[in-house]
């Protein structure tokens, strides 16, 4: 296929960026989107130009490193997958594809399509764990857990921390990401003990870092590559209220 790419280029965090047009030719429909980007970059390098910087690592949809806002959608037009799992067969020959970085104040641009998502790490550091040390823990089967709850916890724990929810939200809210972690622990007996401090600390940190409010548009759920449900946000709000009244 032949495609017209319109890509955001920005040399560093504090400089102006702009769209640059690049045509690419003879792309196989079986190539992945990032392989298409590799082909473009090989051409740019061969012509002595700087390749387009973008984040990626596992290319299997699990590390959460890849991002990209493609034709107005976080992780592109296909549902329930990350950019690295997107394949060119989802596009039409001759199509123009607009490729932008995540745009959200708490995720400043580093270069081109790469952004700094360390704010997510800071939120986890504020409470996304069970405060136990290595060793001295009970046998793994000492506390049975209802399969249903374990499954729901796993659904929430599947979040890959990619930030698409923030990028998709007009308020740049991180509620889906935070609620996924809060829910995972709220559903497990191991996490219950610190539930109150956890939700308070994580929400406070989220607000501190400049993420916006949730106004229930559910754009986050629609773009989340791991189908994290907004039911987690409701659960977190319940946890938060419970923490406030107790």
């Amino acid at each position: 296929m032949d495609l017209k790419l319109k890509i955001w280029r920005q040399t560093g965090p504090d400089v102006e960026g702009k769209f640059v047009h690049y045509p690419v030719h003879n792309i196989s429909k079986d190539a992945s989107f990032l392989e298409m980007m590799d082909i473009l970059n090989e051409e740019l390098v061969a012509n002595g130009e700087e390749p387009v910087a973008f984040d990626h690592d596992c290319r299997e949809g699990i590390c959460g490193m890849c991002s990209l806002f493609i034709n107005g959608h976080a992780h592109g037009p296909d549902d329930s997958i990350t950019t690295c799992q997107l394949h060119m067969r989802k596009f039409k020959d001759g199509e123009t594809i607009v490729i932008e970085p995540w745009r959200a104040r708490p995720f400043p641009i580093i270069k081109d399509l790469m952004v700094d998502r360390s704010a997510f790490d800071l939120i986890i550091q504020a409470g996304g764990y069970v405060s136990i040390n290595t060793g001295g823990v009970p046998d793994a089967n000492a506390i049975p857990i209802k399969k249903e709850n374990a499954d729901l916890a796993m659904d929430a724990a599947a979040c890959i921390g990619c930030g698409a929810c923030v990028a998709a939200c007009k308020n740049a809210s991180a509620m889906l990401f935070v609620s996924a972690k809060v829910s995972q622990f709220a559903l497990l007996p191991q996490g219950k003990i610190e539930a109150k401090q956890r939700v308070e600390n994580m929400v406070a940190k989220m607000d501190d870092l400049g993420f916006g409010n949730c106004t229930n548009t559910y754009a986050c759920e629609a773009e989340c590559p791991k189908d994290i449900s907004v039911a987690n946000i409701a659960r977190m709000n319940r946890e938060f209220l419970a923490a406030k009244v107790s």
Binding site: T11, E50, P51, A53, R59, I124
Partner: protein, 648 residues
């Protein structure tokens, strides 16, 4: 010649680790605060070690390439983690896990290390559950298990098809807790470029800030490398794009011996290669072999029609299918170890029975399992894997059998370490996939996660402390010494040289060529002639690289091409050592298959008399041959046999 001292404690095997811990040196709490530890890597091994050492009170500095410690390559592990819990009551025990691992590794692993691994495996599961890792559970609320290749018991714990992710997020949460306390200082988007040695001891590292391009110096009383495996030397592998061999290679060039470099694992169930633009290969978890049956057509004409797209596999009647693993290995069937399954697939394809348009694929069929258990059960077990397959191949595996082919997956080789996981450089420890470890010549499924967490949570916090107990009088390391100065200059020189070349070929074009040499001659089947050729060709490629590579952009700021070039510089040297090691080993064992050494039935033929050793290579200089040291392997607790998966 230095004698390799594995420092295995004396006494009966089941008591060695307990005795070690009872007699090792400890550091008192007040002194721990005076001691700095550097950890490179935040995968299972590095993440777990960082959290645990920090909890003990040491000052810990941690480094990783990705933008967050949560993204280390361990995140991609799918299938599961082994432990000898024997919850299913099917006859498992510490001894049996130990036995299976040594046997699976084709008797090329150090007995005492493997025993310790089996011993602490149960603690790992307890620890992870306490952290809130949502392992799969049964309706009664207890943990569920599945089977993996090379075992007759169900001992694998899992979290859907995302076990690595959940275990890593567990370690990451523990690490985050320590960062929040201020006890760990985390450095992301940093790549270690070299190790600094002072008076023969590892005392620090030089890192490159990948965002600014600046070199930084960091000093410490001890350094731990947990930098993962070097499978990307083959260009195409199931490893993440930034997985590399540089840290281990730099350690080698500073004096740490490199062990068994040629031992790589080729995983039997990966999605076949589809085009020359391809950047990586995708693994389909081995757990699929629990329910999928592997076959190719019995008749060559059928295979040819399938290759041309004239015949669909679902049209081939049962009697015309060759379930070759079940035929050749009746006791283990589709659950033979990875090396055996990979070679059997290659054998059928080489004979012309392969499927897919390249003929380099075999079927993994779920038809029988779906008929027996129902589609929803299969979906619950493997749903995300089926979805991943469909996204990539554009075929529905519930209806058409999956196509798979072997691919490079894991490196058993790595930095040589003793029982304490210390390299031949004092103060330099190595954990996880980066060390040559516990898997001998072949790793069993679900054992890498076990080893990474065992090293990180339960071994290194003890053994590093034993070393550090000696260091309490050494002040915090200043980084303005001549040694830091010189090492930083060495790194800067390589970067400068890369920019001087200004050639006209891209970094990846060289990497792809290296990958092809490695796959053809140092891959699934090797022989003397091919290996000798590989050594010559890699040398030539290296020369061409240094004469014609094009690294665009600047030395400062983010420069992805430079990062790739720096990793390739090391792969171009490491590849040669791998070929040399494979050439030295005139036998077939585990993943190392030398075509000259096989039985009449085509099975690997070991030579225990001459090759029952760990090869440990010593660097002698760029223009000199490395020197081979041998650590003899002694088996006192297990009877050494020819591996047999035909009968139980």
């Amino acid at each position: 010649m230095t004698k390799l001292d594995s420092k295995v404690p004396s006494g009966p095997i089941a008591e060695k680790w307990t005795n070690y811990k009872a007699h090792q040196n400890l550091v008192n709490p007040a002194n721990k605060r005076k001691i700095d530890v550097i950890i490179v890597g935040t995968g299972l091994a590095g993440g777990a070690a960082a959290a645990s050492l920090s909890e003990l009170g040491f000052n810990v500095k941690v480094f990783c390439i990705q933008d967050s410690p949560r993204r280390a390559h361990s995140i991609a592990a799918q299938g599961g983690i082994n432990a000898a819990k024997n919850y299913p009551n099917d006859g498992d025990s510490i001894y049996r896990l130990f036995y299976d691992t040594v046997k699976g590794g084709d008797y090329r692993a150090r007995e005492a290390n493997v025993y310790r691994l089996a011993e602490v495996s149960n603690n790992i599961i307890d620890q992870c559950v306490a952290q809130g890792v949502p392992f799969a559970r049964e309706y009664g609320g207890l943990l569920d298990n599945r089977s993996f290749g090379g075992a007759l018991v169900s001992r694998t714990f899992y979290a859907r098809g995302q076990t690595g992710q959940q275990l890593l997020l567990g370690a990451y949460s523990a690490l985050s807790k320590e960062i929040n306390k201020g006890a760990v200082k985390m450095y992301t988007r940093r790549e270690m470029m070299d190790i600094v040695k002072i008076d023969g001891k590892a005392r620090g590292i030089i890192v490159r800030d990948l965002v600014t391009g600046k070199l930084e110096r960091h000093g410490a009383h001890a350094v731990l490398l947990a930098t993962g495996g070097y499978g990307n030397v083959f260009f195409l592998s199931t490893n993440a794009m930034t997985s590399n061999g540089s840290a281990a290679w730099k350690a080698y060039k500073r004096g740490a011996y490199f062990a068994d470099p040629s031992f790589v694992q080729i995983h039997p169930t990966c999605i076949p290669v589809h085009g020359d633009y391809q950047s990586k290969l995708t693994l389909m978890s081995e757990s699929l072999r629990n329910d999928g049956r592997i076959w190719v057509p019995k008749k060559k004409v059928d295979a040819q029609k399938i290759q041309k797209g004239e015949l669909s596999p679902v049209k081939i009647p049962e009697e015309d299918r060759d379930y070759y693993l079940e035929r050749r290995y009746p006791a283990f069937g589709n659950l033979v170890p990875r090396d055996v399954a990979s070679r059997a697939a290659k054998e059928r394809c080489d004979e012309g029975y392969g499927v897919g348009n390249t003929g380099l694929a075999v079927y993994l069929d779920f038809k029988d399992a779906i008929n027996r258990l129902g589609k929803n059960v299969i979906e619950a077990r493997y749903g995300n894997l089926f979805q991943m397959y469909e996204k990539i191949v554009d075929e529905n595996p519930y209806e058409t059998p999956m196509m798979i082919y072997p691919a490079i997956h894991y490196t058993m080789g790595g930095t040589w370490v003793d029982y304490e996981l210390q390299s031949t450089i004092p103060g330099l420890f190595v954990g996880g996939e980066a060390n040559f470890s516990d898997h001998g010549a072949n790793r069993l499924g679900a054992s890498a996660l076990m080893q990474g967490l065992s090293d990180g949570y339960f071994v290194l916090p003890y053994t590093m402390q034993n070393y550090l107990a000696d260091q309490i009088n050494v002040p915090h390391l200043a980084t303005d010494s001549a040694e830091f100065e010189q090492t930083e200059k060495d790194v800067q020189d390589i970067i400068d040289r890369l920019f001087v070349v200004k050639g006209n070929k891209t970094v990846d074009s060289f990497h792809k060529r290296l990958g092809l040499i490695m796959w053809d001659y140092v891959g699934m089947a090797r022989n003397k002639e091919g290996l000798e050729k590989a050594i010559v060709e890699i040398k030539e490629l290296r020369k061409e690289f240094w004469g014609n590579v094009n690294v665009p952009g600047e030395k400062t700021g983010m420069n992805v091409e430079l990062e790739k070039a720096l990793r390739l510089v090391d792969f171009l040297e490491l590849g040669e050592l791998m070929a040399r090691d494979a050439l030295d080993r005139n036998e077939s064992c585990g993943g190392h298959f030398r075509e000259e050494y096989k039985t009449e039935e085509g099975e690997a033929m070991r030579d225990d008399e001459n090759y029952m050793y760990v090869s440990a290579w010593e660097y002698k200089g760029d223009d000199q041959e490395p020197v081979l040291h041998k650590e003899p392997l002694v088996y006192e607790n297990i009877e050494v046999k020819q591996r047999n998966y035909k009968t139980a």
